[in-house]
Amino acid sequence: MKKRKQHLVFFLILVCIVSLLGCARTRIIDKISIVHVFGFDQADNGDLVGTALFPVYTKSKGSDQIQYLEEQTPSSVLFVPRMGAHTSTPVQLSKIRVLLFGKEYAEAGIQDMVDRFMTTPQLGTNIQIAVSTHSAKETLNTFKKEKSLTLAERIEHNMEGQSLPTMNLHVFLNHFYGEGLDAYVPIVTIDEKEMVTAEGMGVFKDDKFKLQLNPEQTALFSLIKDYQSLATFKIPPGEKDRSEIIIVKGFRSKSNWDWDSKEEQINLRLQLEMTLSQHSRKYNLEKAEDINKLKKIIVTNLEKGVSDLLETFKENEVDPLGIGNIVRSKDRNWDEESFYQLYPTLPIHVNVNLQIIHSGLEG
């Protein structure tokens, strides 16, 4: 009898645990508004302006029916309830693919917004975070006119197969809060044909947008940062004569950082495997000396490009490559403040080791 009572108690506890944990609101798939892109801007009076794009799938199978909502609130927490007032179904943030910051807002500092991402567990971390050169509102409006919801894809494929360095919210948060590194994001812009374009990348200093890199610099950056960057390079960059142009495409790259603590300098050794897509006819690739000549031209150009890029970072006192973090891993007495006082004058020696794996054939 006693044993049976014990079982009954256990059973009731189990029922309670299960039923209480299950007290979740139902979110039936066709009775919710699923936000796809969320943009943030700053209004003139200091309020936040949130813009969101919802696909209206109940009216059409594709994503050509897009609902646009804009809300101005003093706090980011109020976006969802205010937006809910305009929609016929509850607003759900879980499927957000891209978070977009207007450049002005990014330059003013986004600390409070990023803190909010951390406390919103509905957001996945494998989503894109980007800064737009125009305001987020304008970009989203242009995007809505395109009648497609492929902003995330547009950024992602540029990271995988083109020159953008890989980034998502997860990595961004690590860079944003981590010591010895600064966050960087892809930049989207509206081009002359009223199209939303992924173009280059931007670097944050602490929580403020500081530096925008042009596409060439972005390609070099992804060569250093990513293991498999498929960026294409035109060498020499300023060449106008078409017969002289050399074009190489990245295939695999590996960067080794060395911290020389005695002389307080950094050696960067880049091991590159590249394919030669186009070269001048005066080089005969069957001759070893011609190949060496070609290699030398490419290496010197790349070395110069990388050094210039690092110089730009030092001038702007930003560290998206995480050099501080690299030094920290080698130096026990590393201290963030003193290192970054040293940073603008820190000598970095770049050494590129190139291997051409094949030429001509497009892979």
């Binding site: 299950g22 139902t26 039936i28 066709d30 696909p55 799938y57 499927k95």
Partner: protein, 507 residues
């Protein structure tokens, strides 16, 4: 509150009407119109014969019994004289009226002196195949290749089929009579020197201790001797295929066959065995393994598909890929019900169709396919009662539930989805998880003839897990599963060196 009221044990053999004397036997038999007593001789001859004319073979009676009796009627002074006169094997003499009654019901003719009813000669001329079907193709378990012989509703034929396939003196048949009113013959078959005697003893004890009036079919008997009668899972394999039965005998399992039943039951059964099919053993092992995995996947899909549909579409829309959101939401947009009602509606419809299809005569059954498949399927979507996507999922789930070769198991799989549907509707993914835990707990507690049902997965038995998901190669797996504790382990030695370097066309 939960205590069971203890009942008094029933009196032994309560349903049996007890005859006290010989005249009682005849008196009661005479009430039936098919019981015949004739005196085929001159009027004053004392000899008489009695029989149930529905049970005997009339041609034998006409050709081999009556002529000889008539010819030499006057010479009969003693009943034992009959042995020399009638050319029939199996003439018995008895004085026991119980034995007489039993023999009459088995199709014997009783010969006796009219005025001296204390000794009877019993001539067994029963017509066992009367009313039996002639074809013995398998009716429910099909295979494309391999033998297609199945059991029929006759014990001697079935025993013949087994003995014919497995002609060894190690094959033992033990007969037990079950049922106190209609005495059904039940035979336990096993391989001497292979099958563990524990299984034989357990099965024998359970069958002997049964106290029922009639056993209609082996499947009923199976439930009566089952270890757990409250579970939806079948604990013994019910099969009508001869090759499957013989295969299990060779594995060291026991087989129970009973009269008037076309199904043999195989024990001890383990869960994973229900997903293998005799055809697995006729196909190359890699192909057979693939289809076995498909069957296991089909079982899982059939249980969980509609439950996941509900859980995802009511609680966890995040897991739906972005490109799929459009088609799904668009197809569900006009459906006025929550997913659970939608799913229950379709699932019950499919089960109705299935049940109707099983009961309808074959000729009308064809129309059912059209009504079910086209009219109901198409119309419910157009009437916005269900979404297109759900229709596909439920149809696929129904389809995959039929891949389970054993009918009883496929029924259990069909039933199991309903609790999962309800759990998913209440608690979403958590509900499915809770249901899964309860299911696994239940399964791991089941036993068949005292052997754990989940063997060899739980308790884990080395070397058996691969064999429960795929059909291993004959060359590598030439032993019986040791966890079933057979008395001899090795089954065969495959031929060595089947791919010699030196051949006729060696270069």
């Amino acid at each position: 509150m939960f205590r069971k009221r203890r009942r008094k044990p029933l009196d032994k053999r309560k349903y049996e009407t007890v005859d006290k004397t010989v005249s009682d036997v005849f008196e009661r038999a005479n009430k039936s119109s098919d019981f015949t007593t004739i005196s085929p001789f001159e009027k004053d001859h004392p000899l008489q014969i009695s029989f149930y004319k529905t049970l005997i073979d009339p041609s034998v009676l006409q050709k081999s019994v009556l002529p000889f009796l008539k010819e030499k009627a006057s010479a009969i002074m003693e009943l034992s004289d009959l042995t020399n006169m009638i050319p029939i094997e199996g003439i018995k003499f008895t004085k026991d009226y119980l034995e007489l009654e039993k023999a009459l019901h088995n199709g014997s003719v009783a010969v006796y002196f009219k005025d001296k009813k204390d000794e009877f000669a019993l001539l067994n001329i029963n017509y066992a195949r009367l009313g039996q079907r002639e074809t013995n193709d398998t009716q429910n378990e099909f295979s494309v290749i391999g033998p297609k012989i199945g059991f029929i509703e006759d014990l001697t034929t079935n025993l013949h089929l087994i003995r014919d396939h497995l002609s060894t003196s190690d094959l033992i048949f033990e007969e037990i009579v079950v049922g106190s009113r209609a005495q059904t013959k039940v035979v336990i078959a096993y391989l001497d020197g292979v099958t563990n005697p524990d299984y034989i003893d357990t099965a024998k004890q359970r069958i002997q201790e049964l106290d029922v009036d009639t056993s209609f079919d082996n499947t009923q008997l199976e439930q009566l001797i089952s270890d757990n009668t409250k579970t939806p899972f079948p604990l013994f394999i019910t099969t009508e295929r001869v090759d499957r039965t013989v295969g299990s005998l060779l594995q060291g399992q026991i087989v129970v066959i009973s009269d008037k039943s076309s199904y043999a039951i195989i024990g001890p059964g383990t869960l994973m065995e229900f997903f293998s099919n005799p055809e697995d053993f006729y196909l190359p092992s890699i192909i057979a393994s693939f289809f076995k995995l498909i069957r296991i996947f089909g079982m899982l899909f059939s249980i969980f598909a509609s439950a996941f549909y509900i859980a995802i579409f009511t609680f966890h829309f995040e897991v739906v890929p972005k490109d799929l959101l459009g088609p799904i939401i668009f197809s569900r947009a006009n459906v006025p019900f929550p997913p659970v009602i939608e799913v229950l509606f379709l699932e019950v419809t499919i089960d109705l169709l299935r049940e109707a299809g099983a009961r309808l005569p074959t000729k009308i059954g064809q129309t059912l396919g059209i009504v079910g498949g086209i009219v109901i399927g198409q119309a419910t979507v157009e009437a916005a009662l269900t979404s297109n996507i759900l229709l596909i999922i439920v149809a696929l789930a129904a389809l995959s539930s039929f891949t389970t070769p054993i009918y009883k198991m496929s029924n259990a799989v069909r039933l199991l989805r309903y609790p999962f549907i309800l759990l998913a509707a209440i608690w979403g993914g958590l509900g499915i998880y809770v249901g899964l835990i309860l299911l696994i707990t239940h399964l791991s507690r089941l036993k068949s003839l005292g052997v754990p049902y989940l063997l060899p997965l739980y308790p884990y038995r080395k070397g058996g897990v691969v064999g429960s998901f795929v059909r291993p190669n004959y060359v590598n797996y030439n032993k019986r599963p040791w966890y079933l504790r057979p008395l001899s382990l090795k089954r065969y030695f495959p031929a060595n060196d089947k791919d010699p370097d030196e051949g006729l066309n060696t270069e």
